[in-house]
């Protein structure tokens, strides 16, 4: 599964990069590569079963934390 994910990302890179190189859009290439790597890492983690935190859970816990701090400080 990971191999498949990596393949897809490599494929996307090959699909997008040549045009950027051709036009000498180096900044674009850098940002693109960065985001792509981020996506690759995260999706590999996801596929390999690492338990990434849930976004909502983070917010809810954050909210509860703030609530608690306010309560204790009051």
């Amino acid at each position: 599964m990971i191999i498949f994910v990596v393949l897809v990302f490599i494929f996307v890179f090959i699909y997008e990069a040549p045009e950027l190189v051709e036009k000498e859009y180096w900044r674009e290439l850098a940002v693109f590569t960065l985001l792509l790597l981020l996506g690759l890492v995260l999706s590999s983690l996801l596929v390999s079963g690492v338990k990434l935190p849930y976004i909502e859970t983070v917010w809810i816990e954050l909210g509860e934390g703030i609530h608690r701090v306010i309560q204790t400080s009051l």
């Binding site: 900044r27 674009e28 940002v31 981020l38 996506g39 849930y54 976004i55 859970t57 909210g63």
Partner: protein, 363 residues
């Protein structure tokens, strides 16, 4: 950057679709259920006020996207910081829409299919549409929203004979403070998310009509949501409050002469097409925004990686729909107030103060 232009009419329709986007989940506690449609009128009013305030920002800086305005008002560093905050907002909005959409599919008709198989093809067409630019998004939105509205009117005709007005009673059985709080939640959740359009407004070809177009779109969407909610309560009654997707249940209850029945596809179709536009707009704003933060000349190559991130965010958005409902009810109002009211107002305030100072200095 995208050079496409859309007309104010297309903008109106886009605002409608975006707001209707994930209508199937609304922030409602069980007590509020029967009066939700009344609260929505209130919420629409509040939402319009909020939207008007945000639009003042665009009027002050015509032809500039939100991020460019940030850079102008708060300088480079401050602007970038706020822009990043907003990028997160776009990501989260898109991910929420995607998650609700897949949950609906999984609990209703595709119980055995893995999320991946549902989401990946969906995300691919979203990416495809995004790369085509705002013009294509706006154009493909037109038939979809019109079909949605037509289907709504057909549903009205279908349920006229099973609508029981008694189900709508009792009215006003909710403390006013609760009602107000819920209305704020609705004002920022579907309506307030329109702050995203500040990224798209510069692409409209007649600027003086922008404000009217956005407000018209919100009123249209508000009317749609109101009518759906009204019908749902009238048909499903009190039972609706125990369901995750009451509006979906509403269509399941239509049974006319045992022929016009089993119409679940209508809400699914409406919800998915509207969600499609919503997710596409979120991804578009995300990509254009990222490109502006990094001063890029094109946003197109960013669409795929950002789409992948959106997908991952949707996967890890909420552990369950019940937690999401709780989130929508309890956390989202603060979240929305921060993004769709506080930040635009702050920017507007700072801009006004700065302009005033400058005028003082020059005179």
């Amino acid at each position: 950057m995208d050079q496409g232009k859309i007309s104010p009419w297309q903008l109106t329709l886009l605002v409608m679709s975006f707001t209707i986007g994930n209508w199937i989940v609304l922030p409602a506690g069980t007590e509020a259920w029967q009066n939700l449609w009344l609260i929505m009128i209130l919420a629409l009013g509040e939402g319009l006020v909020f939207a008007y305030l945000s639009l003042l920002l665009f009027r002050r800086f015509p032809g500039k996207t939100l991020f460019e305005i940030f850079a102008l008002v708060f300088g480079s560093v401050g602007g970038k910081f706020l822009s990043l905050l907003f990028l997160w907002f776009f990501l989260q909005t898109g991910a929420a829409a995607l998650m609700i959409f897949v949950t609906l599919l999984k609990t209703t008709i595709f119980t055995a299919t893995p999320d991946m198989a549902l989401l990946v093809p969906w995300m691919l067409i979203v990416i495809y549409g995004c790369r085509r630019g705002i013009e294509v998004i706006a154009r493909s939105n037109e038939p979809l929203i019109i079909a949605t509205i037509v289907l709504l009117f057909i549903s009205v005709l279908l349920v006229l004979n099973i609508l029981d007005p008694a189900n709508l009673l009792p009215l006003f059985n909710l403390p006013l403070s609760d009602a107000l709080w819920i209305s704020v939640g609705i004002a920022v959740f579907p309506f307030g998310q329109n702050v995203l359009f500040l990224m798209i407004l510069p692409r409209v070809n007649r600027r003086q009509k922008v404000t009217g177009a956005v407000l018209k779109g919100m009123i249209g969407a508000g009317g749609y949501l109101l009518l759906i909610q009204f019908l749902t309560v009238g048909v499903v009654g009190k039972v609706g409050e125990i369901y995750v997707f009451p509006s979906y249940e509403f269509y399941r209850m239509i049974d006319i002469a045992r022929v016009l029945t089993r119409l679940e596809l209508i809400p699914l179709l409406n919800f998915m097409t509207m969600g499609f536009i919503k997710i596409m707009l979120c991804l578009y704003a995300l990509a254009v925004g990222t490109a502006q933060v990094f001063n890029l000349r094109t946003y197109r190559p960013l669409v795929f990686p950002l789409g992948a991130l959106l997908l991952i965010a949707a996967f890890r958005f909420a552990p369950s729909i019940s937690q999401h409902l709780r989130f929508v009810e309890e956390v989202n109002p603060y979240f929305g107030l921060f993004y769709s009211v506080f930040l635009p107002l702050l920017t507007l305030g700072v801009a006004l103060v700065r302009g005033w100072l400058r005028r003082r200095v020059t005179s």
